[in-house]
């Protein structure tokens, strides 16, 4: 089965080529969408085959080289793929969620101009993402890394005739570029560092095998991992490079679900998991990652509390949940981080698709009533649970999952992260505290969203309120599948302490990922602190606390948005300054504009008007001016009379011959 590994990225590439080249001619939406969906579904089937073969296989690392890319001296770089438990899990998530979102898009994008363009980009994205995940060396990963960035740009700017969409696309691209710079710096430094020890390689397996050549905790490994982490903050929207993700909501909703929630933004987490051997050797970097992750989780959650745009709430929620994943990576809980990545892909994709379904319905109603209200503003919604029952139920399930109520998927993954943050050798109770507060905020803003959208009185314009339909099957089917996964997906990684409740259920996921992470964890002493490792009471206690915090958040949301609907207004009135700061995202965009963007513009303007116009153009124009002057002087030698030329020739011949005879 491993011989067919290359087919996984190959199918979406075929879909991209077909739709990209012929889509405009095909025109038929069913065929275009069908081809794109079929291609990613075929990838999913191949991924399943590989996944289940690997599950039973005792040998857990397989590489397939399909072609040589470059060969320089001892350095050999291939177009190669790597299948191990980590990448196997990722390809399942990418192709599985990808298939559902392709299917969803057929319904959601119906009637859009550029329908074929959308699916071509979507397929190209899947190809790039699979290259990123499957690449067996850092350069192939980088190709995918850049590819997903490109597709993200193209899809955010899908409605390119809207200025805000174009701006958001550019912002995403530029901010990602800063991160990519870090990635390249890390890669080159690592290449040089290993090379100076005699190992010239970019292959992940060889990097892992030779990581011990570098000094553990030394400067080199810290610099390398910090640079890689900068790359991760760009791609995965962490402080300080998170500002592009909320703006990226300008793209169509399926794009937000696939790229900006489930897959691309988790690339940074995946990359850290892929290079876990290196990261574990740099405790300072790990601490930085954990702190940045925790800070992002709290910070983004706080902004999410006050947003009114349904997709923006989800965007900040995504930033916040990514912060959790980074916190997990930072405290060495690699498998917990990947576990949260997986469950997050389920529930956040479902939430985004659910919000898409709501927006679709609202848009439809406004369109019918010839109104131009904002279909994404939650203040125009309310009471939609009766109009859109399937959307409502799946949305509610996912909201419960993200809030971490037992025994939905988010509960297991989030609690494992918090437990490691509290009790791990590299954890700290402050990290746990920040994570727990963020969890409470998450529960609050997510239920605020549910209450504002699906409960209470319907606040839609009366002319439109009766035209809101439940979405069609292509939209609701993915919702149901993802909703189910969001509900039960956590049982794959039940922590040991809870295993007893479910008939001694082992932690399948941790065991599955052990070949990738266990060695590193043992080597670097990353474990639960011994004095806490066997304290079941403590672990249960922590779980109880975090569930309690989530319940407080939910009750708070219920109290403010169902019980006393006038309370939020009073709250805003009494804490105007605080509310305005949160509502305006703590003015981070303005701060960045003032500090970085405007200064860059100033430098650019200087280089344009000062350097380019005066010096560069001056040299060019000066050269032309000199040549012109010389030419206008010399033109008098060209009289146009034949005899002058003949005379010049004769004189010339006489002079030359005379020189040879008499000279």
């Amino acid at each position: 089965m491993y011989d067919y590994l290359w087919l996984i990225p190959f199918f979406p590439l075929v879909g991209f080529v077909i739709n990209g080249l012929l889509g405009k001619k095909i025109r038929n939406e069913a065929i275009i969408g069908g081809i794109a969906t079929l291609m990613i579904f075929l990838s999913f089937l191949v991924a399943c085959g590989n996944f289940f073969t690997l599950l039973k296989d005792s040998e857990k690392v397989h590489q397939q080289v399909i072609a040589s890319w470059m060969s320089i001296g001892n350095l050999q770089i291939d177009w190669g793929f790597l299948l191990d438990p980590l990448s196997a899990l990722m390809i399942m998530v990418v192709t599985g969620v990808g298939t559902l979102i392709h299917l969803y898009s057929i319904g959601y994008m119906h009637g859009e101009t550029g329908f074929y363009r959308f699916f071509a980009y979507l397929n190209l994205f899947c190809f790039s993402m699979l290259m990123l995940v499957l690449g067996n060396n850092a350069l192939v990963m980088f190709v995918g890394w850049e590819g997903v960035g490109l597709c993200s740009y193209l899809l955010i700017g899908y409605y390119f005739d809207k200025k805000s969409a174009g701006d958001a696309a550019k912002k995403a691209f530029v901010v990602n570029r800063i991160g990519d710079f870090g990635f390249i710096c890390g890669l080159l430094t690592l290449f040089w560092a290993l090379g100076s020890k005699g190992v010239w390689t970019v292959n992940f397996v060889e990097i892992a095998e030779n990581a011990h050549l570098l000094e553990s905790g030394g400067v080199v490994v810290t610099v390398v991992t910090l640079a890689f982490f900068l790359g991760a903050t760009g791609k995965s929207a962490q402080i300080p490079l998170f500002t592009w993700l909320p703006d990226a909501m300008e793209g169509p909703t399926p794009v937000s679900a696939l790229i900006h929630a489930a897959t691309m933004v988790t690339a940074g987490v995946y990359m850290i998991g892929r290079l876990n051997g290196l990261f574990a050797m740099a405790p300072d970097t790990m601490m930085t990652i954990a702190i940045v992750g925790a800070a992002t989780a709290l910070f983004a959650a706080s902004i999410g509390l006050a947003q009114n745009d349904i997709k923006r709430v989800l965007a900040y929620s995504t930033v916040s949940q990514l912060g959790y994943m980074f916190m997990a990576m930072g405290v060495g809980a690699f498998s917990a981080g990947i576990f949260h990545l997986m469950t997050h892909a389920f529930f956040k994709a479902c939430l985004f698709l659910g919000s898409g379904s709501v927006i679709h319905g609202m848009h439809h109603a406004y369109h019918k009533a010839h109104l131009h209200d904002d279909p994404q503003d939650m203040r125009n919604m309310g009471g939609l649970r009766k109009k859109m029952p399937i959307t409502f139920i799946t949305f509610l399930v996912s909201t419960i999952a993200i809030s971490g109520l037992p025994f939905f998927s988010g509960f297991f993954s989030k609690d494992e992260i918090l437990w490691w943050a509290f009790a791990g050798e590299r954890g700290h109770w402050m990290l746990w505290l920040v994570g727990a507060i963020a969890a409470g905020m998450t529960a609050f803003y997510m239920f605020r969203l549910v209450f504002m959208t699906f409960f209470g009185e319907q606040k839609t314009d009366p002319r439109a309120k009766d035209h809101i339909p439940e979405s069609g099957l292509t939209i609701t089917l993915p919702l149901m599948v993802l909703g189910t996964l969001a509900a039960i997906g956590g049982f794959w990684g039940v922590p040991h302490v809870l295993g007893g409740i479910f008939g001694h259920m082992p932690n399948y996921l941790e065991n599955f990922l052990a070949p990738v992470f266990e060695h590193t964890q043992v080597l670097n002493g990353i474990e639960i602190k011994p004095e806490m490792a066997h304290s079941k009471a403590l672990e249960f206690g922590m779980m109880g606390v975090s569930v309690g915090i989530a319940l407080v958040g939910i009750l708070g949301a219920w109290f403010m948005y169902i019980k006393n609907p006038e309370l939020p207004g009073r709250f805003v009135a009494s804490f105007t300054g605080l509310w305005r700061a949160v509502y305006n995202k703590w003015y981070i965009d303005e701060l960045y504009d003032a500090v970085f963007v405007n200064n860059c513009k100033r430098i650019g303007t200087f280089l344009w008007k000062g350097f380019d116009v005066r010096i560069v153009d001056g040299i060019v124009n000066g050269t032309a001016w000199v040549v012109k002057g010389v030419g206008s002087g010399l033109r008098y030698t060209q009289s146009g009379f034949l005899h002058n030329y003949a005379m010049a020739m004769v004189v010339g011949v006489v002079v030359i011959v005379g020189y040879y005879i008499f000279g």
């Binding site: 146009g640 009379f641 005899h643 005379m647």
Partner: protein, 100 residues
């Protein structure tokens, strides 16, 4: 006794006449004829030296020059006719359309 020097002197005289004609005459046909004179003076030099040095290379060159001169005459006269059709003149002072 006519030696090679006589031939060379004759050839130099003919060449000078040709050069003088090219530089002074205005009628394009005459200029053309003067060029032929110059070519033929060169031919004469080649033949004389070929005989003097007992080497056939010079004679081969003469054949080439005659061939080229024939071709040149054909092209040159065609140009004259084309020019005459345009300007009703073959005066070399009228060949001035490319000057500044």
């Amino acid at each position: 006794m006519i030696t090679v020097y006589h031939y060379l002197i004759l050839s130099a005289i003919i060449f000078s006449i040709g050069t003088f004609g090219v530089l002074t005459r205005k009628n394009a046909i005459v200029i053309f004829m003067c060029i032929e004179l110059m070519l033929n003076s060169v031919n004469l030099t080649f033949i004389a030296l070929s005989r003097h040095l007992q080497n056939m290379d010079g004679q081969i060159f003469v054949f080439f020059i005659m061939t080229v001169a024939a071709a040149e005459a054909a092209v040159g006269l065609a140009l004259m006719i084309a020019f005459y059709r345009n300007r009703e003149s073959i005066d070399s002072d009228d060949f001035n359309m490319l000057k500044w």
